[in-house]
């Protein structure tokens, strides 16, 4: 295998080019994507290659945009929708929650909503309260939705290709701070399965489950902890729902300590879900409580210093780990 060091954004772009080239039923629609490269930059070059029919600029109509993906997917197409910000879930919520997520079940299994909704979340650009949230907890709560949040270029490319080929509705959550991150991605096709976690760092002293950009925050914290002889094992679920519980449980049986890191607000956040689930399974293997490291329960402020402080930082993870160690 030949690996190249490319950015997360480039990895996504490659995935889209390859899948659209492979299957003529795949098309992409979203706001601003058809001209230039769109707000996120992920769709650059696609319109030139595949034309305006398959790379569609939509009106600012999230309900119609997201709902149209359902109708298209049930009639032989494989749409990819770009939902510019996850904060816009409120605008298209009915189509996500009541239509797309429930189509398979309500039809007794006949409907195959083979669609992907690509979106992005998180802080990092001072875009403030309505454009910086991390809302995976809302999605994970709805049965029928597959929710993935890859943290590296390789995971992003492999998971996006798999998501496009799958017959389930997949929410593919990118992160603002991911796009420039570079990583090794094979030149050859490398699909990553849905529903499988990945150990990003091996360690014997504490298990850290981290999602999305927090994988990188956790890796930074692990470096610092390592200097003090504390070795953290970092597990990236990659698919948030359904969660691949077994590797996490297996890790905790070795380390006896668990910290869960997530960029959403603490209350009702994804870290709570992971903590509760693991608590039921590995309670007797734990030497202390499961700790959550999450954003403060507040809207994201516009001020960049405040913004940086409100979400988990390496020092917050280090502090949680040290709390668990004697």
């Amino acid at each position: 295998m030949t690996d190249r060091n490319i950015s997360y954004l480039q990895a996504l772009n490659e995935a889209l080019h390859e899948e659209m080239g492979r299957d003529s039923d795949v098309f992409i629609m979203g706001e601003d994507i058809g001209l230039g490269m769109g707000t996120l930059g992920v769709t650059e070059g696609l319109r030139d290659e595949f034309g305006p029919e398959r790379v569609r600029n939509s009106p600012i109509s999230e309900q119609a945009l997201v709902g149209a993906a359902l109708g298209a997917s049930l009639t032989g197409s494989r749409p990819i929708v770009e939902l510019m910000f996850i904060d816009l879930l409120g605008v298209c919520g009915d189509q996500v929650v009541n239509q797309i997520a429930k189509a398979a079940y309500m039809s007794g299994g006949k409907a195959k909503p083979a669609l992907v909704i690509r979106t992005q979340q998180g802080v990092g650009m001072g875009l403030a309260a309505q454009h910086s949230q991390s809302l995976e907890a809302w999605l994970v709560h709805i049965p029928g939705l597959i929710v993935v949040a890859p943290s590296t270029p390789r995971d992003a490319k492999g998971l996006l290709k798999t998501a496009i080929r799958d017959d389930n509705p997949v929410f593919f959550i990118e992160n603002k701070r991911h796009y420039p991150i570079k990583g090794l991605v094979p030149e050859e096709e490398c699909l990553i399965p849905l529903g499988k976690a990945d150990i990003k760092r091996h360690g014997r002293d504490v298990t850290i489950v981290a999602t999305s950009y927090q994988v990188h925050t956790a890796l930074a914290a692990a470096e610092t902890l390592s200097k003090d002889g504390i070795e953290a094992e970092i597990i990236d679920p990659r698919t948030l729902s359904p969660l691949d519980v077994e590797p996490i449980a297996e890790s905790v049986r070795r380390t006896h300590r668990l910290v869960v890191v997530n960029e959403g607000c603490r209350t009702g956040g994804y870290a709570s879900e992971v903590a509760a689930t693991l608590g039921e399974i590995v309670f007797n293997d734990l030497d202390g409580p499961i700790l959550r490291v999450a954003a403060e329960d507040a809207p994201i402020p516009a001020n960049l210093r405040l913004e940086a402080e409100i979400v988990p930082q390496p020092k917050d993870i280090e502090s949680a780990v040290r709390q668990l160690l004697p």
Binding site: Q63, A68, P79, A111, T162
Partner: protein, 327 residues
């Protein structure tokens, strides 16, 4: 193809389709009164000409999206009474294995994308199914049914605009039965004729007598031709009326029994019976014969549903999602 092109047999078939809906809905009504149907289904009695007029203009490969008051659309599009009734009773033999219920009946093989419990919820899907037709050059159109209440939703606005902007083969069929749940349309809507909204989106809009099945058919036919010719969507407002409440047991505080009685003169079945009689196509004996058949078909469907098994408990967690495709 206009009114004059219907053969006698086709006219009778059209009548039979309307009669089937009427008798099916009355059987459901009966089932609710008997305490064997739960969930408060929303019945289509009085609106049969809209579903039948539109679906007669559609071909098998066309799709429809429906509403919470969808039994009429589903039957007109080819739905069979037994699996429909079984789904309304939430039995294992229903179209959705008893897991969808009255408001979510779907059958993709019949081109039925689904009834919908959310007012206006099916319109975006209809736009998407039409987009698919365009992209795949599939040659089908999509008829999207929705009510006067739905025409005030954001979903309506976005869907009509998107369909017009992208010139998609959608027929937007508005069933204006004057009441959105319990509220008269004129209390909540700034205009009187929903067809007037079409111009705002850049598509033709027509207002037809929704109780005249041939008029509905003509409008739908024209819209279908337009759509297939690449001219984009059409909005057809069908002015109609529902004789029963929003659901069975609705106290109907929003109208008087006298008003409902007066509207009965305009019953689409009565009117079409007169048309067929005038044309010498169907006499009274033939009419009674058809009615007996449809009543029996509906009664047998209810009996089938009553005798059908409940879904197995294991169905509770099945079909939430599909197994992941192997890589």
């Amino acid at each position: 193809m206009g009114k004059m092109d219907f053969t006698g047999d086709q006219l009778i078939h059209t009548y039979r389709q309307m009669r089937r809906i009427r008798d099916f809905e009355l059987a459901v009504y009966n089932g609710v009164r008997r305490g064997v149907i739960a969930g408060g289904p929303h019945l289509y009695v009085g609106e049969e000409a809209v579903a039948v007029g539109v679906c007669t203009a559609l071909h098998d490969e066309d799709y429809i999206t429906s509403t919470h008051r969808g039994h009429g659309h589903l039957l007109a599009k080819g739905g069979q009474m037994k699996p429909m009734m079984a789904e309304i009773l939430a039995k294992a033999t229903g179209y959705c294995k008893g897991k969808g219920g009255s408001m979510h009946i779907a059958d993709l093989d019949l081109g039925i994308l689904g009834a919908n419990g959310i007012v206006g919820g099916g319109l975006p899907s209809a736009v998407g199914a039409a987009l698919s037709s365009k992209l795949k050059q599939g040659g089908w159109v999509v008829a999207a049914f929705f009510g006067d209440g739905a025409s005030n939703t954001g979903s309506f606005h976005e869907s009509l605009n998107m369909a017009a902007a992208w010139r998609l083969p959608v027929i937007f069929v508005n069933e204006n039965n004057r009441f959105a749940m319990f509220t008269p349309m004129q209390w909540t809507t700034g205009i009187t004729d929903i067809a007037d909204r079409a111009a705002a989106y850049g598509m033709p809009g027509v207002s037809v007598d929704g109780n005249d099945v041939l008029a509905v058919y003509a409008a739908a036919s024209t819209a279908r031709e337009r759509a297939l010719a690449g001219e984009g969507p059409t909005l057809i407002e069908c002015k109609t009326y529902r004789f029963l409440g929003h659901y069975v047991g609705d106290p109907q505080d929003y109208r008087t029994p006298a008003e409902v009685e007066a509207q009965r003169e305009n019953d689409p079945l009565l009117r079409f019976e007169r048309v067929l009689a005038d044309r010498g196509v169907m006499n009274e004996d033939e009419r009674l014969d058809i009615t007996r058949q449809t009543e029996r078909e509906a009664a047998e469907a209810l009996q089938f549903a009553l005798e059908s098994p409940e879904p197995d408990m294991s169905e509770l967690v099945k079909d939430v999602r599909h197994p992941f495709n192997p890589l």
